[in-house]
Amino acid sequence: MSSMPVVIFDNGSGYSKLGFAGNTDPNYIIPTAISSRESLGVPVSRLQCEDLDFFIGEDAYQNQKTHNLSFPIKEGQINNWDDMERFWERTIYSLMSVEPQEHVFMLTEPPMNPPENREQMAEIMFETFDVKGLYIGVQAVLALFGSNLYKEKQNLTGTVIDSGDGVTHIIPVAHGYVISSCIKHIPIAGKDITKYIAKALKDRREPIATEDLMDAARVIKEKNCYVCKDMDKELLRFNDKAEWKNYEGIGRTTGAQINAKVGPEMFLGPEVFFSPGKFTRDWDKPLDECLDSTIQGCPIDLRRDLYSNVVLSGGTTLFKNFHHRLQRSMQQRVNDRLARYAASSGNTPKPIECKINAYKTQRYAVWYGASMFAASPEFSRVVHTREEYLEHGPSIARRNVVFGSGV
């Protein structure tokens, strides 16, 4: 039965990407949300099987009137194991429709995931679902692995910018190892942009019910937002009402028809990455500066490689022209520094090339990398089998075999 495909779950704080290995697209992208009968963590009785009365994904939102909606993953890390276990149960049985005993599973983890979490994941997968094998991959490394398939030169050295719903990370990776001391967290991500847009809509008194506001803002963000070249010029352009766009949709909670106008927030939202000082008080370093300082903090012999292979991953990097703008300001920054160096020392250094890679699978780059990795022959070498688990217990998940030595 070794021909059964590997099942890959990439559970992010916003969305879960689920599917079979070997495909280029995940079979499902659903919100990582669960709504259940429990209130405040008091388990319900099991007499009438109330514990099975819960919904996940889109259905969770639709049933939030009668059930309590919660999000089991916060900032990339699982914070409610009860909910997560049930989320997996439902995804296995009603979405993927697989028999867990027959399949090898692959999960992903954020950088700096404590080993206890990894053990807990293994424990749930092996104890509850009796899976045949398990591999827990590091998201950044998988994203890098996936990007290799678009390139001629294969390497697992590069910088990954992973921006999802809750948090943005800049993660340098050297030869398949994450350089954990150099990871940078930026507290700006998809949710903040959604909030910003929602606030703009509310301040202008667009006719949207409060319950629907966040959702409408999210849809507007995903459909209309883009990154501009120059903020001030773009603002002037929007003085002309003809530039404004219309948004029509149906509220997810109330079901009412929504008709609203969308204006400058279309580019002001994503702009928060490039001039955060103007938008929030928590953070004032633009993304390119963070990226630059992260790479400058890495070992000197890696820096050139890190500059030349920056990979974007996650939904929030999808804004139109995001990578163009990042590329331009990064190159500018690096060139400026080299010019300064040349002026002070008198000799001209070799120019450094910055390359920001954007691929069509960027939205689910981690999943795509995982899918390609699971289908590669190397996978069978690194996967933890059930026999190993029964022999050694959950501690097998502590140690992760690094792949990519063959690349």
């Binding site: 079979f20 495909n23 388990p43 009860d82 149960e89 439902r90 993927m96 009796d130």
Partner: protein, 310 residues
Amino acid sequence: MMSIDPHHPLIIDNISALLNSTIDLTNLLFKLTDYDGIQYVISGQNTDSLCFTVLAPQLASVGEAGGYESIQLNYPGFPIAIDEGSYSILIDRSQLPDPSLGEERKLRANDIANKFSMFRTHFLSGPFIKALKNVKSGTAFQPKEVLIRPNEKLWVIPGENRVNFIFQVNFSDHTDGSLSRVFLQEFVEAKRQVPNSPVITFSQNPPEAMSMFKGATLPSTIGFLCITVLKEQIRQEAETGQWLAGLKQYLTYHLHACKTYLHMRMRKKTEGLLKVLKNAVPDKLEEKTFRRVRAAKTRREESKIVYNFN
């Protein structure tokens, strides 16, 4: 969700998307898996037709016991090709209503997709339906041994005005095995509460009825579940057959859900115990007040001494 939906959601998605589109199907190929070790390969034959191939180790055994008949009954008008170890059905997109009849074509396509998503259930329920039908009409038939899952067998044994279905229950995991024993005993209990339900027995040893079959005692077998259906209990063969075919999945699903629930309770308990432990740690605060009281007392006494001196 009390029971598992017999529809395979991915088959619905994929087939309806393909049938509703007009893309060239020639080089298309993708694979899906289902419960009971069944795999599907959906491949394009030419621009307009799809080949829905089923691969499973138990294919021939179930097929001959009634699976093939059930498929022919449920998929009329679709050409079928049986090969060793695989079973293919052709879907011709050009036979759908013309694209100009948008709505109608869509309905028909979704209908087909829905039908194929039930393939496993239709196929595996074949042996059950056949036996039930035979009992109902009073036709005699031979006892049969069917390989229903890659490592589990089913025995269909006719009796007087009744039929016995004996399932071999196997679990690769020990915990699952023990839990399933409890579960299956529960089935026997439940009989008392449901009037006119079939007789269900669960035993660790092969039941009497299947004495003509030898070699059934695989070492890892948890037990044998015997469901006896009487002639007058048979009303809707198709529906009953579907339930029987999904029995093992139902069992596994509930086992896993039950374990999840136990884990939730365990986590809750640990949290409670941790709280107790935290409370048991002696408080620093107490010591402080004690010292302050003592200090005040000492001070008072000292001042008394000073006072006495004066």
